[in-house]
Symmetry: C2
Subunit: 205 residues, 2 copies
């Protein structure tokens, strides 16, 4: 195996150890040494791949996000016929909810990142970069839906997109706190979507 | 000062030290010893008032929440005339957003609680208790708005209430990550409210 590929594979293995800790006892207070132990390697070996907890956390988050994006893409491709903007948005948004073990771990790693980013400008910049891209992608889908007569044209696509992103974040929080079930969260998301996609009588009212 | 009042006052002072840590470097990894140092007392003295970090965290959270509720109540009472369900909901929801230093600290302490509650059934039960009460209160306001013809009667009041609570949680997250400004978050909340309060032409459309 070429050296570069091997390096990346080791970083992924270590990330998976970090995920297991996030999923079981949580990342609060978890050290590089704890992750090394979970990965079955020495601290020195781990530091060959990640110098800091933040570097490891960001890599582990990006890695699980890329797997989530891959799953969402596959789900969209598996849809019958040409996917509509509604199909694409719903697949993305439900894909962001912690509905199964992998998406739950993704959300928990995201929370650990968030918890540090609040007090760290560099980590915040990282978050600031990701969300506006997602908002733009969703807003583009909404503008397409407006041209198709599915969403009212007087709506602001960027604002509607940010409402959806914020909503999914809050719905996810209350899944993890067991305030509502994953199924209920999906129902609430569908309610918001149906109120948005009411342009040509496509909505429930 | 009677002994019981004094005990409560000391617990509040210690809570304020915890808030300062939440606001500056964050509570991740903060120990009872750190909070004692911030409060200018010994660890033994702190443990006289709080035996565990969780006990202290829950008290500090309840204390800052009670101050926030007091501020919201005062804001509603200061409104001209009889407050409408819309006025009450908007005052509560904007009061939950981290728009100033005190509400920001409240949200940060809430996150630290959440971060532990995900891995702790007792702390989760605590969260499960609070949110449904808030949802019921909001749903009652929405049902009153329906009777006043301000919200369409075919809406489910409990679902609409939970959408608002979830939305505020997500909007708050993205204020702290500086994805949007506090002012923008209020604008997005108002957008959601205007779409909800569209019953008798009260909405923007």
């Amino acid at each position: 195996m070429p050296k570069k590929v091997d390096h990346e594979a080791r970083r992924r293995e270590i990330s998976q150890a970090l995920w297991r800790i996030a999923s079981t006892r949580g990342l609060e207070g978890a050290s590089l040494r704890d992750v090394a132990a979970e990965a079955g390697i020495s601290l020195g070996r781990l530091q060959h791949y990640f110098r800091t907890k933040d570097e490891m956390l960001v890599f582990a988050l990006r890695y699980i996000e890329s797997l989530a994006q891959q799953r969402i893409r596959e789900r969209i491709e598996a849809l019958d016929g040409e996917p509509t903007p509604y199909d694409i948005l719903r697949a993305c948004l439900t894909g962001m909810l912690p509905l199964d073990e992998q998406s739950r771990i993704g959300f928990l790693v995201g929370i650990a990142h968030f918890h540090r980013a609040v007090h760290d400008p560099a980590l915040r910049a990282d978050a600031r970069d990701g969300i506006p891209k997602l908002r733009s992608f969703f807003a583009d889908q909404l503008r397409l839906a407006m041209r198709r007569g599915e969403v009212r044209e007087e709506r602001d696509a960027d604002d509607a997109a940010m409402l959806l992103i914020s909503l999914v974040d809050g719905l996810s929080t209350y899944i993890l706190l067991e305030v509502h079930t994953p199924e209920k969260a999906v129902k609430l998301l569908d309610l918001q979507l149906s109120q948005l996609f009411d342009g040509a009588g496509a909505g429930p009212q």
